[in-house]
């Protein structure tokens, strides 16, 4: 028997205040408005004043609407029935399937004990040389794709999802354009991956509070699947929309903004989501790939900046290619010594030369004479971009390594590459 409160004291943005007793911090309530029912979450307690964040937004709420406390925090149904289904941020079906109510689990649970973590050890092959060779993706990694707006980040995400060897995909969409949502759904369906996918989708026109729930709901479900032994890949797009939703709500609640209007706890909020990525000993794992669009292509913007400090590297998408500079997979050294002897050295050597190529390119554009060395670099750079960086290249790691050596051999003499002599003896292609 739960009490119903029918006097709402204040409505500010998406937050309403009622006088009530017995409410707990983080609990859910149901509010009945003339536009239908909505969930709301307790976000502040001050004596008997209870502030609630209404999922469907404050618009249209009347001071006389009824508020009923449910006595439990936000929950989501968890079972194998989630496979192939599509939901919104509060867990209601978006497809025409039935509402799921069995086996409810809490969201936003405690963090994984660091002492129980293990060192990640499995490479995830994608067939993209800029990832496999230069910035290897590793199981249990959390990695964002930094991208300017207009870049094909969702296409890249979808391609990685299709080619990666995992048991489950959970797609969390935040502020997605409706078209993009349909793109994901159709691509995964055509690729035959929809049946191992669960989607939690918030589109740009949905209430902003639901956007906040998407990562928590997605990760809570992922965690349960991982504990059952499944390798789960969580795709989150776009985390900048998530951060903007937090900003919007923080500002309407009159919190002191810290940097460009974002709340001071932006780092902690993002971290508590990304840190859910884990490889559970003797069980499954969660790998997180998120998209972070950079307003104005500015990597120092608070969202990409804070994200970069949290995640284990980033893929930097620019002009439709993964940039070698700025892109980094921090976990690659856990796996790239087990692939082939030359992997690490070739990776470093080729990038150093590509950096020199960029310098020569700059000199050329300023109209300076090109030395022989510059000319060699220009030749190298063009081949590197065409055969390594182009996203359409789809080739296994070993082939990419072999090709790397032949590019070097066709552009330089062996001592110009700065690679260790022992490797050159072993891998330098013989004169043809």
């Amino acid at each position: 028997m739960r009490k119903v409160y029918s006097k709402i004291d204040s409505i500010v943005g998406n937050v309403i205040t009622v006088k009530a007793d017995g409410a707990k911090y983080g609990d859910l309530a149901e509010i009945s408005t003339s536009f239908g029912d909505s969930l709301a979450e307790v976000i502040k307690l001050d004596d008997d004043n209870v502030s609630l964040q209404v999922f469907a937004g404050g618009r249209g709420i009347s001071t006389g609407d009824e508020v009923r406390f449910l006595g439990h925090p936000m929950q989501i149904s968890f079972s194998d029935n989630l496979m192939g289904r599509i939901f919104n941020g509060s867990g209601a079906p978006r497809d025409n399937g039935p509402t799921l109510n069995e086996n409810l689990i809490p969201i936003g649970g405690p963090s994984f004990n660091p002492a129980n973590r293990i060192i990640p050890k499995n490479m995830i092959r994608t067939g993209i040389p800029m990832i496999d060779l230069f910035n290897t993706l590793v199981e249990s990694q959390k990695l964002p794709i930094f991208s300017a707006s207009g870049e094909p980040y969702n296409e890249l995400l979808a391609r990685i999802a299709m080619q990666a060897e995992v048991d489950m995909i959970i797609l969390g969409g935040m502020g997605l354009k409706y078209d993009d949502y349909l793109f994901f759904r159709d691509t995964l369906e055509e690729g035959g991956a929809l049946s191992r996918t669960t989607m939690f989708i918030h589109t740009a026109s949905d209430p902003v509070v639901e956007c906040l729930m998407v990562p928590d709901v997605s990760l809570a479900v992922a965690e349960k699947f991982a504990l059952q032994g499944k390798k789960v890949l969580v795709l989150l797009t776009d985390m900048t929309n998530f951060a903007d939703a937090m900003k919007e709500i923080a500002i309407t609640q009159e919190q002191v903004p810290s940097n460009r209007g974002y709340p001071g706890d932006l780092y902690s909020q993002l971290a508590s989501r990304y840190e859910k990525a884990v490889d559970i000993a003797g069980s499954g794992s969660i790998t997180i790939l998120g998209v972070t669009t950079m307003p104005g292509d500015d990597v120092t913007h608070p969202v990409p900046d804070n994200t970069g400090y949290i995640t284990e590297g980033q893929y930097y998408l620019k002009n439709g290619r993964i940039e070698p500079f700025g892109s980094l997979s921090r976990l690659k050294q856990q796996v790239n010594d087990k692939t082939r002897d030359d992997h690490r050295a070739l990776m470093d050597g080729m990038i150093k030369l590509y950096a020199s190529y960029k310098d020569s390119l700059e000199k050329q554009s300023m109209g300076f004479n090109m030395s022989d060395w510059d000319k060699k670099l220009l030749k190298y750079g063009a081949r590197f971009e065409a055969e390594m960086m182009d996203l359409s290249v789809n080739t296994p790691l070993e082939k990419a390594l072999d090709n790397g050596w032949s590019i070097l051999a066709e552009c330089f003499s062996s001592e110009e590459t700065g690679l260790k002599s022992s490797l050159i003896d072993k891998f330098w292609p013989l004169e043809r």
Partner: protein
């Protein structure tokens, strides 16, 4: 008399409590919710209402939930058994917690920091009737490679007479090993462990000394050019991905100190795991024992509650100060102090304090200064010396060093190792910017020589920027050679291959030796007739030195390569540069 209260407000991780009885600022209390006791700390007192930060997730707390106060400040337990432990920010042992509570950090679980069951071989060093004071040694137990001294608790002020002392034997830390009596006849039982509030610096030493001896890190660029002293402080600011944590990890392995305390404060859990799994396998070259036996890890990673993140750096520095009291050299690596500052900012926002720059609280600078000032080389009352060295990383927003945390830190540290995005993008390790960074300490090499080398680098840098404007053809051959020398110094001396077992850590002897070889090249006037010849020559030389850096110290290959390098250089060397002749003659 312990006070009690009840919750009247919840806002994020801050609760407002109505109290009956007296309370103290920074007193620890427990909120009783859903059958759990959630540890909290009083951070503001206002009439009969106090504001507390909760060190746990606050979900489920309701109005009217009871609160118990402890009359104690937030404290850590000090005693034998700290080494090798992995604690959270409140000194909960995480591996034990995992055994009790499973994979996840369930809230409200607190375990004893030190095992109450383990027995230690105690040897007394005082006799009945001796006079003792705070931090005096009353006995010792062996702990790993060290002799862990049992000290009179720091909280016992004044002088005491030993009334009884236990004979040599096995004791648990909770056993009374001695009793002391003050002038008024009050008797205090002493155990092998005691508590000390983390936010109070331990000052039980005779005097603080100026840090002079270099703390060798086996990173060439640091030891040769940007040294850190034992008892000193340094900071490593850098944008993300520039290698702050890698540098800290390498330092934690190779630093020439007795004990290393790693405070992973608000950073990635995965990085701690690397240390956690790797250290027990690695051997400390000094003692020949597992590296873990000289290490304590304080691990409050980014997804763990933010209030205990704030506490974690204090927990770490208090443990460091404790071991310093035993005459040991301790290195505290805090990664990252920015996350700690952000934790302060979050709490300040909840308290609705007037924000300072970038919404950081106004007391940011004094708090940072207070933390770094807990480092230092000290002379203990019995004449021995001990030191706490603090190295903190800073994660400036947008990689911009003008932000408040970096600036506040730069004011109080003795060395600045600024990491540059440009260098890390070019895969240069360590990515410390050799020109922007500075150190006020003296290193392992004659400063005149390092200055000469530095000047070459400065000059090479100038020439490089000039070349960008006038092009290579507009640069004189002499300048071009100077530029190549700078590039060589950078590629073959500043940079190290962190994956190469030999090059990853370079002993001071080898650094001195190789630096002399570098000076041979840097001070040489060379017979190179064209830029292409110069480029080719330097490329070959660089290759030779890189191979040389990767060869085992004094091995056959090392000697052979050295011979090759020397004859390679001699071929083109006309004479020694006049300005450097006197400098080189000193050797």
């Amino acid at each position: 008399m312990k006070s009690s209260g009840k919750v009247v407000g919840v806002n994020g991780n801050m609760v407002t409590v109505e109290v009956t009885g007296t309370v103290q600022l920074n007193e620890v209390g427990y909120v009783l919710t859903e059958g759990k006791r959630l540890k909290s700390e009083i951070i503001r007192v206002n009439g009969d209402r106090v504001q507390m930060q909760v060190f746990e997730i606050t979900k489920g707390i309701g109005i009217g939930d009871p609160v118990e106060f402890s009359t104690e400040l937030l404290a850590v337990e000090l005693g034998p058994g700290l080494l090798g432990q992995v604690y959270d920010g409140l000194q909960n042992p995480l591996p034990e917690l995992a055994k009790e509570a499973g994979h996840f950090l369930e809230r409200g679980f607190y375990l004893d920091p030190l095992s109450k069951e383990k027995e230690w071989e105690f040897t007394p060093t005082v006799s009945v009737g001796d006079s003792v004071a705070q931090a005096d040694v009353i006995g010792s137990v062996p702990e790993g490679p060290f002799t862990h001294q049992i000290l009179v608790p720091f909280s016992l002020l004044g002088s005491y007479t030993v009334k009884s002392i236990q004979p040599k034997g096995s004791y648990k830390i909770s056993d009374t090993v001695a009793e002391v009596e003050d002038a008024k006849g009050n008797v205090f039982p002493l155990k092998m462990s005691f508590e000390w509030p983390v936010k109070k610096a331990v000052t039980c030493y005779a005097e603080r000394l100026k840090p002079v001896d270099p703390m060798v890190t086996q990173v060439r660029l640091i030891d040769t050019f940007l040294p850190v002293a034992k008892g000193g402080t340094y900071c490593i600011p850098g944008p993300f991905g520039a290698g702050k944590t890698v540098l800290q990890q390498i330092t934690s392995k190779f630093a020439d100190v007795d004990i290393v305390i790693v405070a992973a404060c608000g950073e990635r859990a995965g990085e701690v795991v690397e240390t956690l799994k790797e250290f027990p396998e690695l051997l400390d070259p000094k003692t020949g024992r597992s590296l873990m036996e000289r290490t304590i890890i304080i691990c409050n990673t980014s997804s763990m509650p933010v209030a205990s993140r704030e506490a974690s750096v204090y927990t770490a520095v208090t443990l460091a100060e404790y071991y310093r009291q035993m005459g040991l050299d301790v290195l505290l690596l805090a990664d990252s102090t920015s996350r700690w500052a952000q934790a302060m900012r979050e709490m300040s926002g909840r308290l609705e304090e007037i924000p300072g720059e970038e919404a950081f609280p106004a007391y940011l600078e004094s708090t940072i200064a207070g933390f770094y000032e807990r480092a230092g080389l000290v002379k203990l009352k019995d004449g021995r010396k001990g030191s706490v060295t603090i190295g903190g990383t800073v994660s400036p927003a947008g990689g911009n060093f003008e932000e408040p945390v970096t600036q506040a830190t730069l004011k109080v540290v003795g060395a600045f190792h600024g990491l540059s995005r440009e260098r890390s993008d070019a895969r240069k390790y360590p990515a410390i910017h050799p020109i922007d960074s500075w150190s006020k300490y003296s290193g392992i090499i004659n400063p005149d020589q390092t200055e000469y080398a530095y000047n070459i680098l400065f000059r090479a840098n100038e020439i490089e920027s000039m070349m960008k404007v006038v092009g290579e053809e507009g640069t004189s051959l002499a300048d071009f050679i100077q530029f190549q020398k700078g590039e060589l110094l950078d590629a073959a001396y500043f940079q190290q291959n962190s994956f190469d077992p030999v090059d990853a850590a370079v002993s001071p002897e080898r650094q001195k030796y190789v630096f002399n070889l570098m000076m041979e090249v840097l001070t040489a006037v060379l017979d190179l007739s064209s830029k292409d010849e110069a480029r080719g020559w330097f490329n070959q030389l660089r290759q030779l030195i890189l191979d040389y850096n990767g060869s085992e110290w004094q091995s056959e290959g090392f000697v052979k390569l050295e011979g090759e390098i020397k004859s390679f250089v001699a071929d083109k060397k006309i004479r020694v540069d006049e300005n450097a002749a006197a400098l080189m003659a000193k050797n």
